[in-house]
């Protein structure tokens, strides 16, 4: 996403303008919210949610552990253990809420930032770090946890998700798919083609857009003149904007959308309105394009703080619980740290492995050439 913003867009994105005006988007009344930033439960008749204290505590644990893992990865990049890291800081609720809405047979197609969804699917966090360390390009078995490989080309995976969902329909199965993407990707042709195919074939796919306000340095106003969720109506399916920092709202709305898809209702676009608290990746410097005031304002909407406030206010969790989560969080940090540091470099012949499923003469020839060349150095100077 290196396209230069237009002068017109720059004018509209002048600093100091409130978020809603910047993005040309309407009042927050449109936002589905079930838990306020202060930690108070609110009801939404369209998206009722019954959630037990135990479930609330489990969500809290997910959020804390996901943030811990993410923070650990950022630190590991700073220490030179990872080449790059794309932090999800601030987006934990959008990912945990939608991830926990999925059933076992459902399938997720992530971008490269869905560490929280991976967590919910049961993918080992160390698997995610392999590609950021440079030992593979992903490499986990997507079918083991129904969590596809990370996709770096912006928006490509939304078509894979749609095709997969078309296959579910052909199979007569009752599963559904979630395609993750961001506000920047919403401009990609592939995402718009995915909307078209999903709509025409009534595919059981939920398009989950985390609008984190920034596509590297470009604000959402560079991508759209209308709120993103409204794009859905032009394609003939519903769009919902949800408070992306509210794990309960994300859970309820995604669950509704997945059930609808499973029951033949077709696709839904969910726009999770959230904020990327950190840099785009560890190579990025957000101070060049956004204000500290903006980031501070979003800090007050933190997804973890509001759930903790709710648990405390309602007496649903005690100090012992919070302490236990913190202990578990420390242990996860340690496991990730040690796991990454002891992650071996692959054998160089990995280059030739799996280029094709069946033998390919040229690849085999070049592998043999490489091996012979490498061996010529062994024992000699």
């Amino acid at each position: 996403m290196t396209v230069k913003s237009t002068s017109r867009a720059r004018k509209k994105a002048a600093p100091g303008v409130p978020d809603s005006a910047r993005t040309g988007q309407d009042a927050p009344a449109e936002l589905v919210q079930l838990l306020t930033p202060e930690g108070d439960r609110v009801e939404n008749p369209e998206f009722p949610l019954t959630v037990s204290p135990e479930e609330l505590r489990a969500l809290y644990r997910d959020l804390v552990l996901v943030r811990r893992f993410d923070g650990e990865a950022t630190a590991l990049q700073r220490q030179g253990e990872l080449g790059l890291w794309a932090s999800l800081l601030g987006q934990e609720a959008a990912q945990v809420g939608s991830g926990r809405a999925m059933r076992e047979g459902d399938y997720a197609f992530p971008t490269y930032r869905e560490h929280g969804v991976a967590w919910c699917r049961g993918v080992d966090p160390l698997n995610l770090l392999g590609m950021f360390r440079g030992v593979n390009h992903g490499g986990w078995d997507p079918n083991e946890k129904n969590f596809h490989l990370y996709t770096i080309v912006i928006g490509s995976q939304t078509l894979h998700a749609t095709g997969y969902a078309m296959g579910i329909t052909k199979d007569g199965a009752e599963d559904a798919v979630i395609a993750y993407f961001g506000d920047g990707a919403s401009s990609q042709g592939d995402v718009n083609e995915a909307f078209t195919f999903a709509s025409v074939y009534n595919a059981p796919v939920v398009f989950f857009c985390q609008n984190n306000q920034w596509a590297i340095s470009e604000p959402t106003v560079n991508q759209t003149k209308i709120p993103l969720y409204r794009r859905a109506s032009g394609f003939g399916f519903p769009g919902v904007r949800v408070d992306g920092n509210d794990v309960l709202a994300c859970l309820a709305v995604t669950r509704w959308a997945l059930d609808r898809a499973r029951n033949g209702g077709g696709p839904v676009l969910i726009e999770a309105f959230t904020y990327r608290m950190g840099a785009h990746t560890t190579s990025d410097d957000p101070t060049r394009y956004r204000s500290a005031e903006e980031t501070e304002a979003w800090k007050a909407k933190d997804p973890i703080a509001r759930l903790r406030a709710h648990l405390e206010k309602e007496g649903l969790a005690d100090e012992e619980f919070f302490a236990a989560v913190d202990t578990e969080s420390e242990a996860l940090g340690l496991r990730v740290r040690e796991g990454v540091r002891s992650m071996p470099d692959p054998d160089p012949t990995l280059i030739f492995d799996h280029v094709y499923a069946e033998p390919h003469a040229l690849v085999e020839e070049e592998r043999a050439e490489y091996v012979a060349y490498a061996q010529s150095f062994e024992g000699g100077e």
């Binding site: 080309v153 490509s156 998700a161 052909k170 083609e193 799996h354 499923a357």
Partner: protein, 323 residues
Amino acid sequence: MSKLTMSKAINEGLRKCLETDPKTVIMGEDVGKLGGVFRVTDGLQKDFGEDRVIDTPLAESGIMGTAIGLALRGYRPIVEIQFDGFVYPAFDQIVTQLAKMHARALGHVKMPVTVRIPYAGGIGAVEHHSESHEAYFAHTAGLRVVTPSNPDDAYWMLRQSVESDDPVIFLEPKARYWDKAEISAAPVLDLHAAKVVRPGTDLTLLAYGPMVKTCLEAAAVAEQDGHRIEVVDLRSLSPVDFATLAESVKRTGRAVVVHEAPVFMGMGAELAARLTEQCFYHLEAPILRVGGYFAPYPPSRVEEQFLPDLDRVLDAVDRALAF
């Protein structure tokens, strides 16, 4: 099987695929009721239904991307791109996703997707309907690239491509769609084997797809001048069967590569470089290349001058023999 045109042979091949493997689906623009703009999928939707033969929205990246998703779900999609020049919107999905998926998943997922593309010129078409872009695909690791030159190969190579667990770019020489030939009862060669289609002793013509017929005609004319020209049909462009090629070139000592694509950075460059390495002490002349010019494919009134024909092939043959 009786004599079939190439388009009918591919049609029969597709029919067989749909019959034998319930996971195969055909996707493309106008492939259903119309039977494709070249009628290659004629009658298939009627017999196998709209679920197996899918008329897609007009979005090539969408077709390719959803085919990848279907493959991830266990299907075996056969995609039709309507014309060579329309593949570029799908090029991103082909190169960044389709070609790399198996490697980046460390073999955990397979991409058995066949991409059929009518390619090359000579039919008097408008812009973007006559291109030869095989080098782009052959340059991409993870793709297999094949192109038949006759109906029998078209039938069997299509069957073999669809059975492959790798993505295959299947290039159909549209100028040869109406050529007729007998279809063998069983495949004679591996999908990636080259074939000596005319034996000779003085020089080897290396060609594939639409230019094989041109080279066979050139060899017949050269014989009247006393030159015994061997013609090798590459059939596969990735991988290339260099063993068969080198055996021929070592024997004849001279080679000319012929293709419709521009000579610069074309398949001929790779063939000449590798065969020079492999056959250096057998060569009596540098390996010459005949192909399209380094210019956009021209308006059809002058495409005859752009494409290699009998005379240009024979001119190169004469130059090689004169060394």
